[in-house]
């Protein structure tokens, strides 16, 4: 007895309501590889990481990325990168950056001379 659904599309599939195949399992990698998706909204803006797709190859990853991340709103371009090609740091290693905010000599705010100029001007007036 096939499933008689309220949805005519499902009725047309002719699925046997009794049939149960307990052995049916998806195998590892049956859903292929993963790709990271980068989305550019407008010309001139940067591409931003937006998420992931599963795909059998790069061309199809791009197609799936269009369906998944560019369904609405503005898009001018997409990139995809195979996840295995991304070399990422480990969060445990973040301490290599811990002194970076202290490097004020790399920052415009690290250079303050107004006090010196004001003192110089004042000294000139006093002469």
């Amino acid at each position: 007895m096939n499933i008689q659904s309220l949805d005519p599309r499902i009725t047309r599939l002719g699925i046997d309501a009794e049939e149960k195949n307990p052995d049916q399992t998806l195998q590892r990698e049956e859903h292929w590889e993963t790709y990271q998706v980068f989305h550019q909204k407008k010309r001139g803006e940067k591409h931003s990481s937006v998420g992931v797709v599963h795909a059998p190859n790069a061309e199809m990853a791009l197609l799936f990325a269009k369906e998944q991340y560019a369904r609405r709103g503005e898009t001018v371009n997409l990139w995809i990168v195979n996840t295995r090609d991304v070399l990422a740091m480990n969060y445990d290693d973040y301490d290599v950056f811990s002194t970076t905010p202290e490097k004020m000599y790399r920052d415009p705010a690290g250079y303050k001379v107004n006090d010196k100029i004001a003192a110089y001007k004042k000294a000139q007036l006093d002469v």
Partner: protein, 329 residues
């Protein structure tokens, strides 16, 4: 936008909370307390990982199964614009499932394993999708009220502690706002239409009210376990609080167009500021979870058949040198 507040966790099969390294646990909890997010390769307690996988996976399954009751009316939507909107919404839901599966994958469970657990009945999804969409008005009630209830839950969860889930939810909530609007539009058009249309939407409302009251799950007592999940920002609000918030936001929108709800005791107590209602039938709720709802068998049979019939396509596209890597975020 389908994730219910209720996450089924079989108490009998639940492992004991594992003892964790106290130093790492303290660092982890301090990070969450500071409002920082946890990212995929961070250290995390085993129970945090287990609960998140369960929650995100059930949410993903709900999105994908939810597309079935709503898709029921695509072929017979009244007019081209309604049909376009419904197709767009259903496509969004399937897209949401993929975003959520990816977020769960970052925790170490493969998409194949999640789908296996769904089609073999091991993992659950939101109970509401085990009820039939009998008329076009059901599409209105699902799109308006089920999506609204899900938004209440998802907005709360998007402020949780796990980075990939929060990022997926932000995108999902943005798209859900369109679903809610289009559902409300269909709902209002029917309610303000001919007497037949109005009767149709009232009938759908009457049938869906109990599943909607079930949506957030039974009242959750503040157990030690719930307290831990809330401290870890896995669970962001109690089932009761979310249900109260939903009632406050949406019951007035139903009453304002003169429709009624099938609960004579439903009212907001002005003294406590809390909604009072007749407890829905929780036995039915647990029966549906066990697989005995009106549509459980059909939903899973359809899902199983589509995996089975798509297997040759997936196999044909597979490359010999492919190599799965857990997505980064």
């Amino acid at each position: 936008m389908y994730g219910g507040g209720y996450i089924h966790d079989d108490q009998k099969k639940k492992p004991e909370m594992q003892a964790e390294d106290p130093v790492l646990l303290a660092e982890f909890e301090a990070r969450i307390a500071r409002g920082e997010k946890i990212e995929p390769r961070d250290w995390m307690p085993a129970d945090y990982r287990r609960q998140l996988i369960r929650m995100i996976e059930q949410h993903a399954h709900s999105e994908i199964i939810g597309a079935l009751p709503e898709g029921t009316w695509i072929t017979r939507a009244p007019g081209f614009r309604r049909k376009l909107a419904l197709m767009a919404k259903v496509q969004d839901e399937v897209g949401h499932a993929q975003l959520l599966y990816s977020a769960a994958e970052t925790l170490g469970k493969s998409r194949e394993d999640m789908i296996n657990d769904l089609i073999n009945g091991k993992s659950k999804y939101s109970n509401v999708f085990n009820y039939p969409a009998k008329t076009w008005a059901d599409v209105a009630v699902i799109g308006f009220l089920i999506d609204a209830a899900a938004i209440v839950n998802q907005v709360a969860n998007s402020k949780g502690s796990y980075g990939p889930y929060c990022r997926a939810l932000e995108r999902i909530c943005y798209e859900e706002s369109f679903h809610l609007k289009q559902g409300h539009s269909v709902f209002v058009y029917l309610a303000t239409g001919t007497p037949t249309q109005r009767a149709m939407v009232q009938d759908a409302l009457n049938r869906w009210w109990q599943p909607i009251m079930h949506f957030f799950g039974p009242s959750d007592k503040m157990s030690q376990h719930t307290e831990t999940l809330m401290r870890w920002k896995v669970k962001m609000a109690s089932n009761d609080d979310m249900r109260q918030q939903f009632l406050s936001m949406y019951v007035p929108k139903i009453w304002e167009i003169g429709l009624t709800l099938p609960d004579p005791n439903l009212k907001k107590n002005p003294e406590t500021n809390q909604w009072e209602f007749t407890e829905p039938d929780w036995n039915e709720f647990y029966e549906v979870i066990k697989g005995n709802g009106p549509c459980n068998a059909e939903r899973l049979a359809v899902r199983r058949a589509s995996e089975e019939r798509g297997a040759w396509v997936r196999a044909a596209l597979k490359r010999a040198d492919q190599h799965y890597v857990t997505p980064l975020a």
